[in-house]
């Protein structure tokens, strides 16, 4: 195993492995401290960053942070590496790669062509030596567009997942939140329900409801019930209308096993989704969620820092050609991301790494009530990710998820971001908002569209 050394002014820092070097080069966060792999202080962190910057990018193709023999995610990454796509940066160090990414050489076309040549570890490494503004500037250059019934991720567009969760999955309660969101121009990425109950009959009921609402109002969006991939496969076999197949994914084989999945099962889930042929514009049929800390939480981290493992989860996601990848950044709790500062940094890193690897990144900009964070921190991350060109964010009524018990971005927050940055909804959805009278031009209408006025009148 190679030794990594950095000397400065007579002092020498040694790092015993690539994983140790990566962990110590990571900006501070509680999860790496919990794992006992964080830098002891800022000086050791800076030394690790200097040593990391000197490392040739190509060395990541020979030195795996999680052993090739022990982990199918490592095998996926290395076996799937596109050496030709890698050529433009093959001779660079990690530090040189940062400079290249910041330069005008790295435009949208160059970055799209490069994506298959990058491994998660390479993008994780360069992210560790980037300031927040670098993460924003570089990610902003990348455009990743995916399609099902609409086009998500075009430059100048911001989509939202309308998240109409209800504590008991009550159809009328869910419908009330859907209406609230649609009237505020939300829901173009997906209408996605976290079910309170994972029981198959309950999930099936919700799938039918989403399908009927989308068809009744002719909405160019897609539905999803966020249930385990094996449930979606079983429900597709029963003939239930599944638009998007959902799954949480992680960056090691063992962490995925703790989720009850492996790569073969994900491929099976994608094939089941494709077999439905329900997308009208494209066949990106999966909705995936990730989040720093999930591998450590499952005791499946192999001594690797949580940000590098998160980037490895994007290799798993890349295999699935998803419509949406959502990093649920503040949900896991303060033991992994302690406060607003750490959550903001992680959100920017995840978006950056995912975009460089070619993924349609969104972010659940969120926090729990046991974390040291508040609405102002979320406003900061929301604005920063908007500038960075994020594909989609969550939209829920008043930021309060009454089923999952955490706070994420509201329908109003999405409108704020669209307003201050001049962003618009997905084009097909924007047309629908105008056609159905929810938007007049770019503004919300002052009166309710007739179809929804009738529905509300019948409800109360």
């Amino acid at each position: 195993m190679p030794n990594y050394v950095h000397s400065l002014g007579g002092q020498v820092w040694r790092f015993g492995s690539l994983a140790e070097l990566m962990a110590k080069a990571s900006p501070a966060r509680s999860g790496d401290r919990l794992a006992g792999i964080a830098a002891l202080d800022a000086e050791e962190r800076a030394a690790a960053q200097m040593a990391l910057a000197d490392l040739p990018l190509a060395s990541f193709l020979h030195d795996a942070v999680v052993p090739y023999e022990a982990d199918e995610v490592t095998r996926l990454i290395l076996d799937g590496h596109d050496a030709r796509a890698f050529q433009p940066v093959a001779a660079l160090t990690v530090g040189g790669f940062r400079d290249w990414l910041l330069s005008d050489l790295a435009d949208a076309t160059a970055l799209a062509a490069l994506a298959p040549g990058l491994t998660p570890e390479m993008v994780a490494a360069v992210s560790k030596i980037c300031r927040n503004q670098d993460l924003i500037l570089i990610a902003r250059k990348v455009e990743v567009v995916t399609r099902f019934r609409g086009s998500i991720g075009q430059r100048g567009r911001l989509s939202t997942r309308l998240q109409p969760n209800h504590p008991t999955d009550d159809p009328a309660g869910i419908a009330a939140s859907i209406l609230d969101g649609l009237m505020l121009g939300n829901g173009d990425a997906v209408i996605g329900i976290n079910p309170a109950s994972d029981s198959l009959p309950a999930v099936e009921t919700l799938l039918h409801m989403l399908d009927e609402v989308i068809r009744r109002y002719d909405i160019p969006t897609q539905g999803c019930v966020l249930t385990h991939v094996t449930n979606s496969i079983a429900l597709i076999e029963r003939g239930a209308p599944v638009d998007l197949v959902f799954q949480s994914v992680a960056g090691t084989e063992a962490a995925n096993r703790s989720f009850g999945i492996d790569l073969a099962l994900l491929r099976e889930g994608r094939a089941a989704g494709l077999s439905q042929g329900r997308g009208t514009l494209g066949d990106n049929v999966m909705y995936l969620e990730t989040g720093q800390g999930s591998a450590l939480s499952a005791n499946a981290h192999h001594g690797v820092d949580q940000q590098t493992l998160e980037a490895r989860a994007y290799a798993v996601a890349r295999m699935c050609e998803p419509l949406l990848v959502n990093t649920v950044v503040g949900f896991i709790g303060p033991e992994y991301l302690y406060d607003g500062k750490q959550i903001i940094r992680a959100g920017l890193e995840d978006h950056f790494c995912g975009k460089l690897l070619g993924l349609p990144m969104g972010c659940d900009i969120c926090y729990t009530n046991h974390a040291e964070a508040d609405q102002n921190d979320m406003d900061d991350l929301l604005t920063l990710l908007g500038v960075a060109g994020i594909n989609f964010i969550m939209g829920i009524p008043g930021s309060d998820d009454v089923m999952l018990n955490y706070q994420t971005t509201s329908f109003h927050d999405a409108l704020y971001l669209r307003k201050v940055l001049g962003l618009r909804p997905a084009p097909e959805f924007e047309d629908w908002l105008q056609r159905s009278g929810i938007l007049v031009g770019a503004r919300l209408a002052e009166t309710l569209p007739p179809a929804f006025r009738r529905a509300i009148a019948g409800a109360v």
Binding site: S30, L34, N165, H166, P167, T168, D170, P171, A172, G173, I174, A175, A176, S177, L179, D180, M183, A196, D198, S199, L200, P201, A202, M209, R216, H228, N231, R257, G260, S297, A298, N299, G333, P334, E335, T368, N369, H370, D374, I396, P397, G398, S399, D400, D401, V402, N405, Y406, Q407, H412, L415, Y416, K419, L444, E446, L448, A455, G458, A459, V460
Partner: protein
């Protein structure tokens, strides 16, 4: 002056009546496209209250008295996390018992079902739901050999594996306070593990979430849990491979107004 400014800065939403259908914060109105002052400040207050709930201590003695009154034998245990700050930052400590508690566990027990009650992130959830839920559950578990009930402070879900293994339990069910939400500081979770032993991960567990009067009712939660327990015992497994096929109890279905003719 345009007509719009005549209406004042806040646009109310004509679907406030739908609030009867959900606890979600719908129909909040808009100032421009932003949150008006009143709902904005109501949110700030709710957040302050939820932050306070996280710090509340479990009333373990009162709970033990209540369990005793249900005819259950009780053990008072503590995780290896000595206090709330350690609990919040060191989940590993919350997943295992401290030395004193380990000594209390019987050397060789045997039962079909061990019950573990932990404070988790909301002691309020346990104070308000644990006993009422057990009053509904226990009659439905006639015929099950139930071991002593462990009441555990500063507990995380996986601590049930160590306790279940120590009690030689065929199955363990952990009742635990879930992270308090803005609108629901009292939500209890139920986690079932077959053949519990230290080192298991989430895939080995079945979860029933949001158990509270305004969420999943005690009756509905007990119905689901009994279904899962029965299947776990019959098939010798729990977790991802054990699907919740329990049909919902008959509840009056509310019309989905978006799909009315």
């Amino acid at each position: 002056m345009s007509g719009q400014e005549d209406r004042g800065p806040v646009t109310q939403m004509p679907w406030t009546g739908l609030r009867a259908l959900t606890p979600a914060r719908i129909a909040l109105g808009r100032a421009g496209t932003s949150l008006p002052t009143a709902p904005h400040l109501a949110f700030q207050m709710a957040h302050a209250q939820a932050r306070k709930a996280v710090q509340l201590e479990l009333q373990a003695e009162a709970l033990a008295d209540g369990l005793g009154a249900l005819g259950l034998q009780v053990m008072q245990l503590h995780s290896a996390a000595p206090d709330r700050p350690s609990y919040l930052q060191r989940p590993d400590l919350g997943r295992r018992l401290d030395a004193a508690s380990r000594a209390v566990l019987p050397a060789a027990g045997e039962c079909e079902l061990a019950l573990v009650i932990g404070d988790g992130l909301s002691a309020t959830a346990i104070h308000e739901n644990a006993l009422p839920f057990l009053r509904v559950l226990l009659p439905a578990l006639a015929g099950w050999r139930i071991g002593p009930v462990a009441v555990v402070r500063q507990a995380r879900v996986a601590i049930g594996d160590e306790i279940g293994a120590g009690l030689g339990a065929g199955n363990v069910v952990v009742l635990i306070g879930e992270r308090p939400g803005l609108s629901s500081p009292d939500s209890m979770g139920l986690y079932l593990t077959h053949a519990p032993r230290p080192g298991l991960t989430d895939e080995a567990r079945n979860c029933i979430s949001n158990v509270r009067p305004q969420g999943l009712s005690h009756a509905e939660a007990a119905h689901k849990l009994v279904f899962l327990l029965t299947e776990a015992r019959r098939r010798g497994l729990s977790g991802v491979a054990l699907k919740d096929e329990a049909e919902a109890l008959a509840t009056p279905a509310r019309r989905n107004f978006l799909l009315e003719d």
